[in-house]
């Protein structure tokens, strides 16, 4: 089912600033969308508004073309998985999963046997066979999260909302369950919205990533689009590893504060500016300066070097590697080329169209699909 948010605004109960500020978003049927951003960006609030757990002051929420914000949370038929699982501690795993079915009014409640079958089926799907009689505190974190997911799926929800579902898991389990969730989505095709502060997680799971900051949507697109065309310095910082190099523009030339970085010509008025660049875009130029580059590691045809100079220490730079063994190599008298980066002044791209700068972003982000 598709989810459509139209100019949603929510103020904090104490009044004051908007937690969610005029957000519009369209999530297409069967997609896996990730809401990403630093803490306090409003991602979880947005998710809770969709579920009906938090009120909003302006805007509309529609599911499958029908307004749902007039319905209470219990009538929206939305599956929700909480960060800390929110399992019912006093119930067995089976009772947790079957809860949504068992509390239905008599006329629409499935029989006991039917509920039991459904629970078995879900335990099977979650790869938790024979766990039905256990209590939540007897399970590992990863198992609990799968029980929470099974419980959310038991009632056949129209949409699945996941609020930082991996936040409390250790990294290894996290990666495991991530892959497993991906497969599950492929199998069930259920429209899913995931909230996370981890961009790698978002990039790995979601077909669409929505980056939020200060209650607003900053940019959305496929993970690759965001990586390649960040709408502003914030998105660039957030969507991949980014190095910031400060310097001074004088007469059409950007001179970095640090030595052994080659100045870059630029059509910009005199004054302070910054270049933002992905590590992969930094080039090492031998025989041009006084920096020393020491081999660090090799990945396929790319070798990375740790570069040290009088003004910086240990900047990681990638270079095409020689086919031969470079593991002991040290390059002396080199300099660094950052001309593939983007100029920033006053926290905004200053030269639209320069380098790989993407389109100017409006407040209202329309998905390509909608």
């Amino acid at each position: 089912m598709s989810v459509y948010l139209d100019h949603i605004t929510r103020h904090s109960p104490q009044g004051g600033r908007a937690i969610v500020d005029d957000v519009s978003l369209s999530v297409k049927d069967g997609s896996f969308t990730a809401l990403v951003g630093p803490s306090g960006a409003g991602k979880t609030s947005l998710l809770r508004i969709i579920a009906g757990l938090d009120p909003h002051q302006r805007g509309q929420v529609s599911i499958d073309g029908r307004r749902v914000d007039t319905l209470g949370a219990r009538e929206r038929n939305i599956g929700f998985v909480f960060q800390h699982y929110a399992l019912f501690a006093h119930m067995t795993v089976a009772a947790n999963i079957g809860f949504g079915l068992a509390i239905r009014p008599r006329h629409s409640r499935p029989g006991r046997a039917a509920i039991r079958r459904r629970v078995e089926e879900l335990l099977e799907l979650m790869q938790l066979p024979a766990m039905g009689a256990r209590y939540p505190h007897e399970l590992s974190g990863g198992q609990r999260q799968r029980v929470a997911l099974a419980r959310a799926l038991a009632t056949g929800p129209r949409v699945l909302l996941l609020d930082e579902p991996f936040g409390a898991l250790d990294p290894l389990v996290r990666r495991q369950i991530r892959g497993w969730l991906h497969n599950l989505h492929e199998r069930l095709g259920l429209t899913t919205i995931l909230v996370t502060h981890d961009r790698q997680e978002a990039a790995e799971l979601a077909d669409t990533v929505v980056i939020m900051n200060r209650g607003r949507v900053v940019q959305s697109g496929t993970p690759q689009e965001l990586e390649d065309n960040p709408a502003d310095p914030f998105v660039m910082d957030f969507s991949g590893e980014t190095i910031r190099i400060a310097g001074l523009v004088t007469n059409g030339r950007f001179v970095p504060d640090m030595s052994d970085i080659i100045p870059v010509p630029v059509a910009l008025s005199n004054g302070r500016a910054e270049i933002l660049i992905r590590p992969a875009d930094i080039r090492l130029l031998p025989h041009q300066g006084n920096a020393i580059a020491q081999f660090y590691q090799r990945r396929g045809l790319v070798a990375s070097y740790k570069v040290t100079s009088a003004s910086f220490d240990g900047m990681l730079v990638e270079m095409p590697a020689d086919p031969g063994d470079v593991s002991a190599s040290i390059i002396t008298h080199c300099a660094i080329d950052i001309s593939a980066g983007r100029f920033v002044r006053d926290n905004a791209w200053v030269i639209p169209g320069y380098g790989l700068v993407g389109p100017v972003i409006s407040d209202e982000v329309q998905f390509l699909y909608s």
Partner: protein, 267 residues
């Protein structure tokens, strides 16, 4: 070595302060033999005091459990103006002297008070009658369920309740299937605290009772009456019975507390 000394000191302290006095009560009760003690309990006024105490305690605990759950739920789930004041007010009966707890009802329902004259004209006097004793006991035991439940509800948080709502549960289903079972040990613990206090309350009840033997005397009041009437065996037998009832309540509660510590992990 010093550990043993400390332990001995504590043992001595507990023995002298807590174990010996009740033991003396039992000894006094049995000073004329077990038969005399049991016979003293068969006195109609004694039976009436026991019955009144049990009825008042059961009613108090039931009513205050309902109120306490409502108060704890409201105070932990909502932020509203004056909430902090309410939290303080709920605890007031703990710090106010029980005598004051009785006098306030006298001010409201005594014949010199606001409503008393009218109530008496209709034939339902509240003071110096069991309803007054119930009110006084309700007042002094009001905080127990609320105060034991609130930290548990706050600790459990709202996520489980929200999960239940999203699964289609009504408010009542959430309360009955999720909130209360999730805090059941704290709830029972609070109810037992209220039980112990209700059974033993003297000050507040004394003010509103009128001390009419066989009618408005609870066990603690009857003990005083018996003692002042030089009926030593009867007084101490009744005291032993009351202490026994309290001990059972405390025992059950400590068992529950131990379970509370062991299980009930936060999920």
């Amino acid at each position: 070595m010093s550990r043993i000394v400390y332990a001995l000191v504590i043992y001595l302290l507990v023995t002298v302060m807590i174990v010996l006095p009740p033991l003396l009560v039992v000894v006094m009760a049995l000073s004329h033999g077990l038969g005399a003690a049991i016979e003293s309990l068969a006195d109609p006024d004694a039976l009436s005091a026991i019955r009144l105490t049990v009825i008042i305690t059961v009613l108090t605990v039931c009513i205050n459990t309902v109120f306490g759950v409502m108060a704890a739920w409201t105070l932990t789930h909502f932020r509203f103006p004056g909430r902090n004041l309410l939290v303080v007010l709920v605890e007031l009966p703990l710090s106010v002297s029980p005598v004051v707890g009785g006098l306030i009802w006298l001010l409201v329902f005594g014949t010199q008070g606001w409503w008393g004259a009218a109530l008496e004209r209709w034939g339902y006097p509240v003071m110096f009658a069991p309803p007054g004793i119930l009110l006084a006991t309700l007042f002094v035991t009001f905080p127990y369920v609320t105060r034991t439940l609130m930290p548990m509800l706050a600790h459990n948080g709202r996520a489980a309740e929200e999960a239940a709502v999203l699964l289609g549960a009504s408010l009542w289903q959430v309360l009955w299937h999720v909130t209360l079972p999730g805090a059941r040990l704290a709830l029972v613990s609070g109810m037992l605290l209220a039980t112990a206090r209700a059974m033993g309350e003297f000050g507040a009840v004394s003010v509103v009772s009128g001390h009419i033997p066989g009618l408005t005397e609870t066990m603690p009041l009857h003990i005083e009456t018996l003692y002042n009437g030089y009926q030593t065996v009867a007084a101490f037998t009744m005291a032993t019975l009351l202490a026994l009832m309290a001990m059972i309540v405390v025992l059950v509660r400590s068992l529950i507390e131990r379970r509370l510590d062991r299980t009930e992990p936060s999920i």
